[in-house]
Subunit: 155 residues, 2 copies
Amino acid sequence: MTETETETTGAGADSCAGPPQGNRRPDGEDRYTISEVAALTGLTAHTLRWYERIGLMPHIDRSHTGQRRYRNRDLDWLALVGKLRLTGMPVADMVRYAELVRAGDHTYTERFELLRRTREDVLSRIAELQGTLAVLDRKIDFYADAGRALASERT
Amino acid sequence: MTETETETTGAGADSCAGPPQGNRRPDGEDRYTISEVAALTGLTAHTLRWYERIGLMPHIDRSHTGQRRYRNRDLDWLALVGKLRLTGMPVADMVRYAELVRAGDHTYTERFELLRRTREDVLSRIAELQGTLAVLDRKIDFYADAGRALASERT
DNA sequence: TAGAACGCTGGAGCGCACTCCAAGCAAGCG
DNA sequence: CGCTTGCTTGGAGTGCGCTCCAGCGTTCTA
């Protein structure tokens, strides 16, 4: 067991990625070309190949002619990467996480720490954005009032 | 009146910028050097000059020797810019907003629209981040459980 | 009056995250 | 068979947001 965590995303709890990404094939016959994955994830084929080059992806299966054949677990991984990207996490850090996953079970605590730190970052980003929202709302009220004043001036 | 909006930030409602930025001089004797502004805003002097070059700042007063002397209203503007930057708004859009402010009162509705769109963006960024937070929390729980399992294995 | 500290400018350079290119191979089709 | 479509590679290029540099002037302190 403990097959270096490919769990979680399998459970049908997900429902909020950017692209539709509904049409997955069942495990066993899950072999997607790069352009299919591009369509499913919203990334370009270029980016997918680049992710592989920099070590952000595990080694992807190949067809007998050498073409990439992505599997469901690769889509799961890309979904996680997409989420982490939304947090503003630098690609280098995601590569670090990918390395930890590849390194095996003894990196669990390090992975845990990395995710926990990321979680803290996300919380403060949310707080920042809410602060900005407050400023924005004040400005918007100002302009709404100004608009009304201009309108009544014209009467 | 309607002096192209330098209001809002004057009111003491602010309290959540990154740097301390407490020590402002009263209006009238508010002439800050570029390095003072750098210290107050957390930006570098390079960046401040660059903001000016690209049209993100209004024209800054100069001393008799040609050095920049920032005023409180410039700090207010920089505070707003800082907030907008946190939202991920591209610099080009902030420049656009700055142009609208410089253009005068007849751009009120356009400014209003820009801010309203930005507000929508911020709301969806927050939603995205909360989605990511959910994923992160599931992963973190997974690793916490795995850690406990490993610990009990060792008994 | 020397030297350090600070500021000025135009323009070049950098790091990140892609993005694209050229040249070539393999499969499918009329 | 030739043509199109899709994929392969290493390496070069792009856009953004800074970041730094050289060469110079001014101001302050000893």
